[in-house]
Protein backbone atom coordinates (compact mmCIF):
# COMPACT_ATOMS: atom_id res chain seq x y z
CA UNK A 1 0.00 0.00 0.00
CA UNK A 2 1.32 3.44 -0.86
CA UNK A 3 2.29 5.43 2.20
CA UNK A 4 2.28 9.10 2.91
CA UNK A 5 2.99 11.37 5.87
CA UNK A 6 0.77 13.52 8.00
CA UNK A 7 2.83 16.46 9.19
CA UNK A 8 2.75 19.20 11.77
CA UNK A 9 5.11 21.92 12.96
CA UNK A 10 4.99 23.56 16.39
CA UNK A 11 7.33 26.14 17.76
CA UNK A 12 7.87 28.13 20.94
CA UNK A 13 10.40 30.54 22.38
CA UNK A 14 11.78 30.58 25.90
CA UNK A 15 14.05 32.70 28.04
CA UNK A 16 15.97 29.63 29.13
CA UNK A 17 19.32 28.25 27.95
CA UNK A 18 19.33 25.30 25.59
CA UNK A 19 20.90 22.94 28.10
CA UNK A 20 18.02 23.52 30.50
CA UNK A 21 15.49 22.67 27.79
CA UNK A 22 17.42 19.54 26.91
CA UNK A 23 17.55 18.65 30.62
CA UNK A 24 13.75 18.86 30.66
CA UNK A 25 13.36 16.63 27.58
CA UNK A 26 15.91 14.13 28.87
CA UNK A 27 14.48 13.98 32.38
CA UNK A 28 12.37 10.93 31.51
CA UNK A 29 11.70 10.35 35.20
CA UNK A 30 9.46 13.43 35.45
CA UNK A 31 6.98 12.02 32.91
CA UNK A 32 5.01 10.22 35.64
CA UNK A 33 5.48 13.14 38.06
CA UNK A 34 4.89 16.46 36.34
CA UNK A 35 2.78 14.86 33.61
CA UNK A 36 1.01 12.32 35.84
CA UNK A 37 -2.39 13.16 34.39
CA UNK A 38 -1.36 11.96 30.93
CA UNK A 39 1.26 9.30 31.62
CA UNK A 40 0.90 6.36 33.96
CA UNK A 41 4.09 4.39 33.43
CA UNK A 42 7.52 4.70 31.84
CA UNK A 43 10.00 1.87 31.41
CA UNK A 44 13.48 2.91 30.40
CA UNK A 45 14.93 -0.02 28.51
CA UNK A 46 18.27 1.55 27.73
CA UNK A 47 19.84 4.95 28.19
CA UNK A 48 23.19 6.59 27.62
CA UNK A 49 24.41 10.15 26.97
CA UNK A 50 22.84 10.41 23.50
CA UNK A 51 20.14 7.73 23.35
CA UNK A 52 17.09 6.68 25.33
CA UNK A 53 14.95 3.66 24.49
CA UNK A 54 11.73 3.56 26.51
CA UNK A 55 8.16 2.33 26.70
CA UNK A 56 5.57 4.91 27.75
CA UNK A 57 1.88 4.56 28.56
CA UNK A 58 0.33 7.81 27.37
CA UNK A 59 -3.09 9.36 26.90
CA UNK A 60 -3.06 11.64 23.86
CA UNK A 61 -5.38 14.61 23.33
CA UNK A 62 -8.91 13.64 22.25
CA UNK A 63 -8.30 9.92 22.94
CA UNK A 64 -10.01 8.52 26.06
CA UNK A 65 -7.58 5.62 26.59
CA UNK A 66 -3.89 4.96 27.18
CA UNK A 67 -1.67 3.67 24.45
CA UNK A 68 1.74 2.08 24.87
CA UNK A 69 4.36 3.81 22.81
CA UNK A 70 7.90 2.55 22.29
CA UNK A 71 10.20 5.52 21.88
CA UNK A 72 13.75 5.86 20.69
CA UNK A 73 15.11 9.27 21.47
CA UNK A 74 18.40 10.36 19.98
CA UNK A 75 20.35 13.53 20.59
CA UNK A 76 21.83 13.86 17.12
CA UNK A 77 23.87 16.91 18.02
CA UNK A 78 23.66 19.90 20.39
CA UNK A 79 20.87 21.45 18.36
CA UNK A 80 18.82 18.54 17.21
CA UNK A 81 16.93 15.69 18.84
CA UNK A 82 15.01 12.99 17.01
CA UNK A 83 12.34 10.77 18.52
CA UNK A 84 10.71 7.77 16.90
CA UNK A 85 7.43 6.66 18.47
CA UNK A 86 6.06 3.25 17.55
CA UNK A 87 2.69 2.03 18.73
CA UNK A 88 -0.21 -0.36 18.06
CA UNK A 89 1.95 -3.40 17.17
CA UNK A 90 4.26 -1.21 15.09
CA UNK A 91 1.42 -0.17 12.81
CA UNK A 92 1.71 3.49 13.79
CA UNK A 93 5.06 5.18 13.50
CA UNK A 94 5.58 8.81 14.28
CA UNK A 95 8.86 10.64 13.93
CA UNK A 96 9.53 13.91 15.69
CA UNK A 97 12.45 16.22 15.11
CA UNK A 98 13.23 18.87 17.71
CA UNK A 99 15.42 21.75 16.65
CA UNK A 100 16.93 23.96 19.35
CA UNK A 101 18.11 27.47 18.50
CA UNK A 102 19.84 29.52 21.15
CA UNK A 103 20.55 33.23 20.74
CA UNK A 104 23.43 35.27 22.13
CA UNK A 105 21.44 35.92 25.33
CA UNK A 106 21.24 32.17 25.99
CA UNK A 107 17.52 32.12 25.24
CA UNK A 108 16.44 29.09 23.31
CA UNK A 109 13.55 28.38 20.98
CA UNK A 110 12.27 24.92 20.07
CA UNK A 111 10.65 23.81 16.85
CA UNK A 112 9.10 20.38 16.65
CA UNK A 113 8.43 18.70 13.31
CA UNK A 114 6.04 15.74 13.40
CA UNK A 115 5.70 13.06 10.72
CA UNK A 116 3.15 10.28 10.97
CA UNK A 117 3.39 7.52 8.40
CA UNK A 118 -0.05 6.47 7.12
CA UNK A 119 -1.56 4.70 4.08
CA UNK A 120 -2.25 7.29 1.41
CA UNK A 121 -6.01 6.96 1.78
CA UNK A 122 -5.71 8.51 5.25
CA UNK A 123 -4.27 11.73 3.90
CA UNK A 124 -7.59 13.39 4.62
CA UNK A 125 -6.73 13.20 8.33
CA UNK A 126 -4.02 15.86 7.92
CA UNK A 127 -6.01 18.71 9.56
CA UNK A 128 -6.98 16.53 12.52
CA UNK A 129 -3.40 15.34 12.98
CA UNK A 130 -2.08 18.88 12.79
CA UNK A 131 -4.59 20.07 15.37
CA UNK A 132 -3.89 17.16 17.71
CA UNK A 133 -0.11 17.52 17.56
CA UNK A 134 -0.21 21.28 18.08
CA UNK A 135 -2.45 20.79 21.09
CA UNK A 136 -0.17 18.09 22.48
CA UNK A 137 2.86 20.36 22.03
CA UNK A 138 1.13 23.26 23.74
CA UNK A 139 -0.29 21.19 26.62
CA UNK A 140 3.07 19.61 27.44
CA UNK A 141 4.83 22.95 26.93
CA UNK A 142 2.56 24.71 29.40
CA UNK A 143 2.83 21.92 31.93
CA UNK A 144 6.62 22.00 31.71
CA UNK A 145 7.00 25.77 31.80
CA UNK A 146 6.75 26.28 35.58
CA UNK A 147 9.21 23.40 35.96
CA UNK A 148 11.75 25.11 33.72
CA UNK A 149 11.22 28.47 35.41
CA UNK A 150 11.68 26.98 38.84
CA UNK A 151 14.67 24.90 37.83
CA UNK A 152 16.35 28.01 36.42
CA UNK A 153 15.52 30.00 39.54
CA UNK A 154 16.96 27.47 41.99
CA UNK A 155 19.94 26.95 39.69
CA UNK A 156 20.82 30.64 39.96
CA UNK A 157 20.49 30.37 43.73
CA UNK A 158 23.20 27.72 43.71
CA UNK A 159 21.15 24.52 43.57
CA UNK A 160 23.06 21.26 43.30
CA UNK A 161 21.32 18.03 42.35
CA UNK A 162 20.84 15.62 45.27
CA UNK A 163 22.07 18.31 47.69
CA UNK A 164 19.84 21.35 47.35
CA UNK A 165 20.91 24.89 48.14
CA UNK A 166 23.73 25.39 50.59
CA UNK A 167 22.39 28.47 52.43
CA UNK A 168 19.04 26.71 52.92
CA UNK A 169 20.52 23.45 54.16
CA UNK A 170 22.95 25.24 56.40
CA UNK A 171 21.63 28.43 58.06
CA UNK A 172 25.19 29.51 58.90
CA UNK A 173 26.21 29.44 55.26
CA UNK A 174 26.35 32.67 53.28
CA UNK A 175 23.99 33.21 50.35
CA UNK A 176 25.77 33.34 47.00
CA UNK A 177 23.32 34.56 44.40
CA UNK A 178 24.74 34.07 40.92
CA UNK A 179 22.51 35.39 38.12
CA UNK A 180 25.12 34.44 35.54
CA UNK A 181 25.78 30.88 36.63
CA UNK A 182 26.09 28.90 33.40
CA UNK A 183 23.63 26.03 33.19
CA UNK A 184 25.42 22.74 33.20
CA UNK A 185 24.13 19.41 31.93
CA UNK A 186 25.49 15.91 31.99
CA UNK A 187 23.54 13.06 30.37
CA UNK A 188 22.05 10.68 31.20
CA UNK A 189 20.34 12.24 34.20
CA UNK A 190 20.70 10.05 37.31
CA UNK A 191 17.47 8.31 38.35
CA UNK A 192 16.29 7.42 41.86
CA UNK A 193 12.54 6.76 41.84
CA UNK A 194 12.31 3.55 39.83
CA UNK A 195 9.94 0.97 41.30
CA UNK A 196 11.78 -1.87 39.58
CA UNK A 197 15.28 -2.23 38.19
CA UNK A 198 16.59 -5.01 36.05
CA UNK A 199 19.97 -4.29 34.53
CA UNK A 200 19.61 -1.10 32.49
CA UNK A 201 15.80 -1.46 32.54
CA UNK A 202 14.06 0.86 35.01
CA UNK A 203 10.34 1.15 35.70
CA UNK A 204 8.70 4.39 36.85
CA UNK A 205 5.05 4.47 37.89
CA UNK A 206 2.76 7.33 38.65
CA UNK A 207 1.79 7.35 42.33
CA UNK A 208 -1.76 8.64 41.99
CA UNK A 209 -4.26 9.36 39.27
CA UNK A 210 -5.78 12.53 40.61
CA UNK A 211 -4.72 15.14 43.07
CA UNK A 212 -5.87 18.38 44.51
CA UNK A 213 -3.35 20.85 43.15
CA UNK A 214 -2.18 23.37 45.70
CA UNK A 215 0.17 24.75 43.06
CA UNK A 216 3.63 26.23 42.76
CA UNK A 217 3.01 28.76 45.50
CA UNK A 218 1.39 32.05 46.39
CA UNK A 219 2.59 35.25 44.79
CA UNK A 220 4.98 37.56 46.60
CA UNK A 221 3.64 39.63 49.46
Amino acid sequence: MTKTYLTSVSTAKTKFPKKLLIWNYWDHEHIVGTHFENYKKVVILYEDETTCHSDRWVKLPYLPFYIKSTDICKLVNNNRMEVMHTTLFSIIKCKQIFVFEENSLNECSVTRYDYLEVPKLFKFLQPVFDKMMKKWFLDVWEEDMPMRERRFKVWKLGFQDFKGIDYINNPDSEKKHNENRMYDLSLPIPKVTQTKENGSKKTFKRLFKRSKHIGYGLSDL
Partner: protein, 105 residues
Amino acid sequence: MKKIKIGTLNDLKKNNQFSRWVNDHDILIYKFNSSINGISNICPHFGGPIGYHEIKYKDNKPVFTCLWHNLQYSVETGKCITKKNLCLRKYKVEVVNEEIFVYIN
Protein backbone atom coordinates in the same frame (compact mmCIF):
# COMPACT_ATOMS: atom_id res chain seq x y z
CA MET B 1 17.89 35.21 62.04
CA LYS B 2 15.31 37.57 60.58
CA LYS B 3 11.61 37.37 61.35
CA ILE B 4 9.66 37.77 58.10
CA LYS B 5 5.96 37.69 57.36
CA ILE B 6 5.06 34.86 54.99
CA GLY B 7 1.26 34.96 55.06
CA THR B 8 -1.83 34.90 57.20
CA LEU B 9 -4.03 32.26 58.78
CA ASN B 10 -6.47 33.03 55.99
CA ASP B 11 -3.91 31.70 53.46
CA LEU B 12 -3.99 28.39 55.33
CA LYS B 13 -7.77 28.11 55.48
CA LYS B 14 -8.44 26.67 52.05
CA ASN B 15 -5.96 23.78 51.88
CA ASN B 16 -4.22 23.68 55.27
CA GLN B 17 -0.98 24.43 53.41
CA PHE B 18 0.59 27.03 51.18
CA SER B 19 4.04 27.91 49.95
CA ARG B 20 5.68 31.22 49.15
CA TRP B 21 9.13 32.56 48.28
CA VAL B 22 10.55 34.93 50.87
CA ASN B 23 14.13 36.26 50.68
CA ASP B 24 15.14 33.48 48.27
CA HIS B 25 13.71 30.76 50.50
CA ASP B 26 10.72 28.80 49.21
CA ILE B 27 8.86 27.80 52.37
CA LEU B 28 5.93 25.44 52.78
CA ILE B 29 3.63 26.39 55.64
CA TYR B 30 1.21 23.71 56.75
CA LYS B 31 -1.12 22.85 59.53
CA PHE B 32 -0.74 19.40 60.99
CA ASN B 33 -2.06 18.04 64.30
CA SER B 34 -3.24 21.57 65.18
CA SER B 35 0.23 23.07 64.91
CA ILE B 36 1.53 25.33 62.17
CA ASN B 37 4.84 24.25 60.71
CA GLY B 38 7.33 25.46 58.11
CA ILE B 39 9.68 23.39 55.96
CA SER B 40 11.66 24.02 52.82
CA ASN B 41 9.49 23.60 49.72
CA ILE B 42 12.54 22.83 47.57
CA CYS B 43 13.15 19.16 46.89
CA PRO B 44 16.91 18.58 47.25
CA HIS B 45 16.71 16.04 44.41
CA PHE B 46 16.21 18.41 41.45
CA GLY B 47 14.49 21.42 43.04
CA GLY B 48 10.81 20.53 42.57
CA PRO B 49 7.94 21.82 44.71
CA ILE B 50 7.19 19.59 47.71
CA GLY B 51 3.88 21.27 48.48
CA TYR B 52 2.32 21.18 45.02
CA HIS B 53 0.00 18.35 45.96
CA GLU B 54 -2.18 18.07 49.01
CA ILE B 55 -0.89 15.77 51.77
CA LYS B 56 -1.08 12.08 50.78
CA TYR B 57 -0.76 8.96 52.90
CA LYS B 58 1.81 6.22 52.48
CA ASP B 59 1.54 3.24 54.82
CA ASN B 60 -0.93 5.35 56.83
CA LYS B 61 1.66 8.06 57.38
CA PRO B 62 1.20 11.57 55.99
CA VAL B 63 3.65 12.54 53.26
CA PHE B 64 4.36 15.40 50.91
CA THR B 65 5.00 14.28 47.33
CA CYS B 66 7.22 16.34 45.05
CA LEU B 67 5.40 17.09 41.82
CA TRP B 68 8.36 16.56 39.54
CA HIS B 69 9.66 13.10 40.42
CA ASN B 70 7.40 11.80 43.19
CA LEU B 71 9.97 11.87 45.98
CA GLN B 72 8.05 11.65 49.23
CA TYR B 73 8.79 13.35 52.54
CA SER B 74 7.39 12.73 55.99
CA VAL B 75 5.03 15.51 57.06
CA GLU B 76 6.10 14.90 60.65
CA THR B 77 9.87 14.96 60.25
CA GLY B 78 10.69 16.37 56.79
CA LYS B 79 12.82 13.29 56.09
CA CYS B 80 12.73 11.81 52.61
CA ILE B 81 11.31 8.31 52.55
CA THR B 82 12.18 7.72 48.88
CA LYS B 83 15.87 8.52 49.16
CA LYS B 84 16.90 8.22 52.77
CA ASN B 85 19.80 10.68 52.85
CA LEU B 86 17.67 13.65 51.77
CA CYS B 87 15.90 15.90 54.25
CA LEU B 88 14.01 19.18 54.21
CA ARG B 89 15.05 22.09 56.40
CA LYS B 90 12.57 23.09 59.06
CA TYR B 91 11.84 26.75 59.71
CA LYS B 92 10.76 28.26 63.00
CA VAL B 93 7.23 29.64 62.62
CA GLU B 94 5.39 32.15 64.77
CA VAL B 95 1.79 33.34 64.56
CA VAL B 96 1.02 36.85 65.79
CA ASN B 97 -2.44 38.37 65.39
CA GLU B 98 -3.48 36.09 62.49
CA GLU B 99 -0.18 36.73 60.68
CA ILE B 100 2.37 34.00 60.07
CA PHE B 101 6.08 34.74 60.40
CA VAL B 102 9.14 32.63 59.64
CA TYR B 103 12.69 32.97 60.89
CA ILE B 104 15.30 32.81 58.18
CA ASN B 105 18.98 33.51 57.85
